[in-house]
């Protein structure tokens, strides 16, 4: 599937520089997250004087208590990518289940499910995640839970609409006439049409999740120290911006670039999945 997607990508995005810039950046970021920490010092130990400028020993300088910023950024990348991907995998899994059930399920399942999904939209943006982190506790686990609970309803709605529009297409009716079960229909004929759209949506939503995670960490209610996260580093940088603006610059830079890259890749994938709609988003 990936090889096929790559081939389609090459033919449809020729000349789409931003898409390939985004892909390149993300590959570098993943390498940075995997190997970055082992290049340098451990992330939670003081290794130098506070607020050292960038040097040969500390590539990006040191933070407020003398930890190496480079390796903290790398650990932050690890955590951001992990949370972003895990949350989205949960959201897409739940979204597909709910979306398919609210089309093909029996009435006593589908109607309550649809109302429940609609109801979830009554919560503005991050509020649900903030509340869940509030009543459970802070840290990586509750953050993933809180963000996943807020992330599945849009996916479910998207899947529901797509499935509903595919349901009455001729190839589905033909397959049903030949005696296919609903389960087989969904797996074999309907879901394969959704992967492209879902992959595109997932890229953009991973960006949204990473942003949400760093928002929570910035507010001090997400990932807890000493585990480093970009949001936390921005918070510390914000407190020290008058005396040492570089501390604020690095995490802001890597976060913004990551968000841009994911959005470019998502837009590119969307254009591939649905050439008609490219450019409207």
């Amino acid at each position: 599937m990936i090889a096929a997607a790559g081939k389609v990508a090459r033919t449809r995005t020729r000349g789409n520089g931003l898409f390939w810039c985004g892909v390149g950046y993300l590959v570098l970021l993943v390498l940075f997250a995997i190997f970055g920490p082992s290049l340098k010092h451990p992330y939670d130990v003081t290794v130098g004087a506070p607020f050292l400028p960038p040097s040969g020993q500390f590539w990006l300088g040191t933070d407020e208590i003398g930890r190496d910023i480079f390796s903290r950024l790398a650990y932050g990348a690890r955590l951001s990518l992990l949370i972003g991907v895990v949350v989205q995998v949960i959201a897409v899994a739940v979204g597909i289940l709910v979306g398919v059930l609210s089309v093909f399920g029996p009435k006593w399942v589908s109607i309550p499910l649809q109302r429940f999904t609609d109801g979830m939209f009554a919560f503005p943006d991050l509020l649900l995640a903030i509340m869940i982190v509030g009543v459970f506790s802070m840290g990586v686990g509750p953050v993933i839970l809180g963000l996943a609970v807020g992330a599945w309803p849009p996916v479910a709605r998207l899947v529901k609409n797509q499935v509903a529009s595919l349901k009455d297409r001729e190839f589905v009716t033909a397959s049903r006439a030949m005696g296919a079960s609903t389960f087989y229909l969904v797996i074999r004929h309907i879901l394969p049409h959704l992967w492209g759209v879902l992959l595109a949506v997932m890229m953009v939503d991973v960006a949204a999740t990473i942003l949400a995670e760093s928002t929570l960490s910035f507010l001090g209610i997400g990932v807890q120290p000493p585990e480093p996260s970009w949001g936390q580093m921005i918070q510390v940088g914000n407190l020290n911006k008058n005396s040492y603006p570089l501390l604020l610059l690095w995490p802001c830079l890597i976060l913004s670039l990551t968000i841009f890259a994911l959005n470019f890749v998502g837009d590119g994938l969307r254009a591939m999945a649905d050439p008609k709609k490219s450019g409207t988003h």
Partner: protein, 336 residues
């Protein structure tokens, strides 16, 4: 001529339209009520599922299981959850959220009353700014489609959607407060302000409005581009309607409708955005209060703040939906 005929149709069906709108308003109110009940239910259930309850918090660490059990009975927490949910909802409907679990156990509604107006003032100013600028820029971009102005506005709006509040706010404070010393670097209580109110509002309002502004700009552009391609617009051009009149009289009113709906949704981003801005700019609003409550594990306060923030979101969406039929007669008549 076309104008006079449509207006005559409108007046003849006006009576029927008002009647239908009455019923539509009722349905919309019921829907909002359902949303509020849903929010309260999810909030209550999250607290139920979470480990620990009000009794363990009040009891502290150094008590036996029996003592916790006794406190739980005294607080009525041993009753089944549906009973307690109805009680919780009834109290919330009377704006009684109990007392804070920490400190001097202040009544929560007193703290809400002190913080909500601060948040609302900034949020309303921000959404107004976002709407006005977003609609203007979106219209300009659509009129100049694919020209330099359009490209510039689109790139700026991409920036606006992707740059988070907590990156923009420190940057603006660093530039305008630290480097150029033109605006205050933090909020000050009323008594200690050195200049007018407006100086303290500029940075938070601008930061908060940026993301909704960018979203609304993109939406307005898309909607206006679509409207400009419609048959009736081409007819108007062929008839020789002056450009200005074409844009503002014939197109704007049609193109603006999806944008108005989106203002309600954008308000949600704005409310949670104010959590960030209030904390980073030390504004004593509901967002800052909530985060303080979370770090102090003050569960009743967290639940109340969630309910109230959710209710504000529901209310704004309701207001937008009730205002829409005033602009679009088709909605007036389709709401059967």
């Amino acid at each position: 001529m076309a104008d006079s005929s449509t207006s005559s149709v409108r007046t003849s069906s006006g009576d029927r339209a008002t009647k239908l709108t009455g019923r539509a308003i009722l349905l919309r109110l019921l829907y909002s009520l359902f949303s509020l009940i849903f929010i309260s239910f999810i909030t209550f259930m999250a607290d139920e599922i979470a480990p620990g309850d009000a009794a363990t918090i009040r009891a502290g660490d150094k008590v036996t299981a029996e003592q916790v059990q006794r406190i739980r009975r005294e607080m009525g927490l041993d009753r089944p959850w549906p009973v307690r949910y109805v009680e919780f909802m009834g109290n919330a409907a009377r704006l009684d959220f109990g007392v804070s679990a920490v400190g001097i156990q202040e009544p929560i509604n007193k703290r809400l009353a002190a913080t909500i107006p601060v948040t609302m003032r900034i949020a309303v100013l921000a959404i107004l700014l976002a709407s006005i600028v977003g609609i203007t820029l979106g219209t300009i971009a659509a009129i100049r489609e694919n020209r330099a102005a359009d490209r510039a506005i689109l790139s700026l709006s991409t920036l606006g959607v992707t740059i988070p509040n907590y990156v923009l706010l420190p940057v603006l404070v660093y530039l305008f407060a630290v480097q150029w010393d033109q605006l205050p670097a933090t909020w000050q209580p009323d008594g200690r302000r050195v200049a007018g109110d407006i100086y303290y509002l500029i940075i938070p309002v601008v930061v908060l409005s940026l993301r909704p502004m960018a979203t609304l700009t993109r939406l307005m552009r898309a909607s206006m581009v679509e409207t400009l391609g419609q048959e009736y617009v081409r007819l108007a051009v062929a008839k020789g309607v002056p450009r200005i009149q074409l844009y503002f009289k014939h197109c704007l009113r049609n193109a603006i409708i999806p944008v108005l709906t989106a203002i309600g949704t954008s308000f949600g981003y704005l409310l949670t955005g104010s959590f960030v801005v209030e904390n980073a700019y030390t504004i004593p609003g509901i967002g800052r209060e909530t985060i303080t409550a979370i770090t102090q594990r003050d569960t009743p306060m967290i639940l109340a703040a969630t309910l109230v923030t959710g209710a504000m979101f529901v209310a704004v969406n309701l207001i937008v939906d009730l205002l829409l039929p005033l602009i679009d007669p088709r909605i007036r008549e389709s709401q059967v």
